[in-house]
Amino acid sequence: MTVKVKGENLILSGDLTEKFFVSDTVIQSLKNKKHLVVKNEGISDWNQKSVIALYTGLRQLSALTDIQINNLPEGMGHLLELSLKTSPKDKESDLPKEDFLEILGTKGIFVARSVESGFCFFVQMIESWGRQIRGESIYRKKDFLLALEDCGPKAVMIVSLISFMVGLILAFVGALQLKNFGAQIYVASLVTVGMTRIMGAIMTGIIMAGRTGASYAATIGTMQVNEELDALQTMGISRVDFLGLPRMNALLLSMPILVLVSDFVGILGGCFVCVFLWEIPMGEYIRYCTAAFSLQNFLVGVFHGFIFGLVITICGCYFGMTCGRNADSVGRATTNAVVYSIVWMIVMTGIITLICEGFGI
C-alpha cells in the first residue's frame, strides 16, 4: 500500500487492509490547503479498518479543508463521506478549566444544598405525621400493612440469625479474656448488658438499613423513573403522605419489637457458647443474666431502635424521592440510602449516648 500527496490530491493505492495509516507528515503537508481530493489509483483491497485509519487522519482537517472523494471503491467512499459529514466538536482542551477554588465552591454549594433539602424533607415527614394525627393524611391502610409485613415478620429470621451470631461472638471473645481471672461466669453479664443496651439495636439497625432502607429507596426511585411520582403530584396527592407515612409507621412500629427479639436471641447466643464451650450450667447463666439485666438499659436500647427506624425511613424515602430518571440513579439512590442510614445511625447513637451521660442514665 502507498499513500502519496501530490498537490491537492491524496492518492491511495495497493492493499489497504494491512498496516495502513495516514502518517503525521502527510497530515502536516495537507494542513494549509483549502481543498483536498482523496483519489484512488489502484486500491486492490480495503476494509473498515482502512476507513477508520483514513478518517482518523482526515478528521483534524475536516473543519478547515473542503474534502472531496474521488473514485474510491463504492462502500469505502460512502463510509468516509458519511463520517466526515459531521465536523468534530471543539477539543476538550478548548473548554475553560476550573481552578481549585471554583471546584471547592461548587462542591461546597452542593453540600449545603443537599443538607438543606435533607432537612426540609425531615420537616415534611414530621408535618406529614402531624397531618396523620389530625386525620388529614392520605394513604392506604393496605400499603401500611404490606410495609409492616415486610419489615416485621419477614425480617425476624435474618435479625435473629445475625443477633445470635453477635451474642455468640461477644460471649466467646469476652470469655477468652475473663478466663484468665477464672471469671467466665461474668460473660453472662457482659452479653446481657452489651446486647440490651446497644448491640441489639445497632445490629437490627444495620440489617434493616440494608434490607428495608435500600428497598424503600429502590422502590420509590423506580416509581420516579416510571413517572408514578409525577402522577401522584398531578392527582394532588402528597408523595410524602402516600409513600412515606405507611413506611415510616411500619418501621417505627416494628423496629422496637425487632430490637427486643434481637436482645433475646443475642443472649441466647451467649448462652450457647457458655453452656457448650465453657461448660457453665444453664441455670447459672440465666441467674447472672437476670442479675445484670436492667430495665433502664433495655429501654435505652429500644429507644435507639425507634430512632434508627426514623433514620432509615427518612434516608430511604428521601433518596428515593430525589432520585433521577434513569436506572443508574436508582442504583445511586439505593447506595446513598444505605450509607447515609448507617452514618446517621452512628451519629444518633453518639448523641443519645451523650444525652444519657448527661442525665446519668
Partner: protein, 254 residues
C-alpha cells in the same frame, strides 16, 4: 364555548434558569384537540410539564379555566387537579396497585361516593377504554398498549374538562397506536373533553389534530399555529414543511 380553556401568555420555560422556549403565546379552545409538536428535545414535554404544574415556569402565565397555574395557591391547584387528567408516556400506573385500585384512587380522593358507586364507575371507565374484566390485573401483567389505556381510564376517572397526553403513540405498534387515536377522537366527540397532545408522530397528529403549535428549537419559540393539515398545505416556513413531510421535500430539492 367562547373563552379559551387554556391560555399561555409570554411563557418562558426551561430548567434552572436555562430557557428552552421563550415567549410562548397560544390559546386552546374548549372541545379542541390541540397538538404540541416539534423535533426531539425541542421542549414539548417541558411545556407539558409546565402546563400541568410539575415544573415551575421561568416567567409568564398559563391560565387554565381562568386560574393561573404559575401562581395558583394550594386550593386552586386542588381544584385544577380535579379538572385535568393526564396520561403519561409510560402510563405511570402505580405498580403496587391493581387496575381497579389505580382508577379508584382519584375517586376515593376527591369524591364522597360510596364504595358501590366507585366500583361501578371504575368498571365503566375501564370498559370505555376496552379493558372490561381486567380490574384485578396488576400493571406488570398487561401489555404496554393496555397500560396506556388503563392510564387513560385513570385520567378520565373524575370526568375532567381537559386531558393531557404525553406522546401517546410512543412505544406502541401502528395498530395499537391507531386504536388509541380513535379512542382520543371518541372521547373528544362524546364527552366533549378538551384534549392536549404532545407528539411528533405524523400519522397520529394528522389523524386527530384540530389545532396545533409547532415548537421550533432553532428560534426557541412557536413558529407555526393552526390545523396540521392546513399547515401541510400552506406551510409558513421550511422547518414546518420538513417536519410535516419527514424531510422528504428537503431531499427532493437537494
Amino acid at each position: 364555548m367562547t373563552s379559551p380553556i387554556i391560555k399561555a401568555q409570554n411563557l418562558n420555560i426551561g430548567y434552572d434558569n436555562r430557557a428552552i422556549m421563550n415567549q410562548l403565546c397560544f390559546e386552546v379552545k374548549r372541545g379542541d384537540i390541540f397538538i404540541i409538536m416539534g423535533g426531539s428535545g425541542c421542549g414539548k414535554s417541558t411545556l407539558l410539564r409546565t402546563m400541568i404544574g410539575l415544573l415551575p415556569a421561568l416567567s409568564g402565565h398559563v391560565m387554565i379555566n381562568g386560574i393561573d397555574i404559575v401562581s395558583a395557591d394550594e386550593k386552586e391547584k386542588k381544584y385544577l387537579v380535579t379538572r385535568c387528567g393526564i396520561l403519561y408516556q409510560s402510563g405511570a400506573l402505580f405498580s403496587s396497585m391493581s387496575l381497579f385500585e389505580n382508577v379508584a384512587l382519584p375517586l376515593e380522593q376527591y369524591t364522597s361516593y360510596s364504595d358501590q358507586r366507585i366500583r361501578e364507575i371504575v368498571k365503566f371507565k375501564l370498559a370505555l377504554v376496552g379493558l372490561a374484566g381486567f380490574e384485578d390485573f396488576y400493571p406488570s401483567e398487561i401489555s404496554g398498549g393496555m397500560r396506556k389505556r388503563a392510564g387513560l381510564a385513570r385520567a378520565l376517572a373524575l370526568d375532567p374538562e381537559i386531558v393531557f397526553f404525553d406522546e401517546p403513540s410512543a412505544g406502541l405498534d401502528p395498530i395499537s397506536s391507531k386504536h388509541l387515536d380513535d379512542l382520543i377522537l371518541e372521547i373528544n366527540k362524546i364527552l366533549g373533553t378538551t384534549i392536549v397532545v404532545v407528539t411528533h408522530e405524523l400519522s397520529s397528529l394528522f389523524n386527530i389534530g384540530k389545532n396545533s403549535i409547532f415548537l421550533d428549537s432553532s428560534i426557541k419559540t412557536i413558529s407555526a399555529k393552526g390545523n396540521p393539515k392546513n399547515l401541510l398545505k400552506n406551510p409558513p416556513n421550511e422547518r414546518v414543511l420538513a417536519f410535516l413531510t419527514r424531510g422528504i421535500l428537503d431531499e427532493k430539492k437537494s
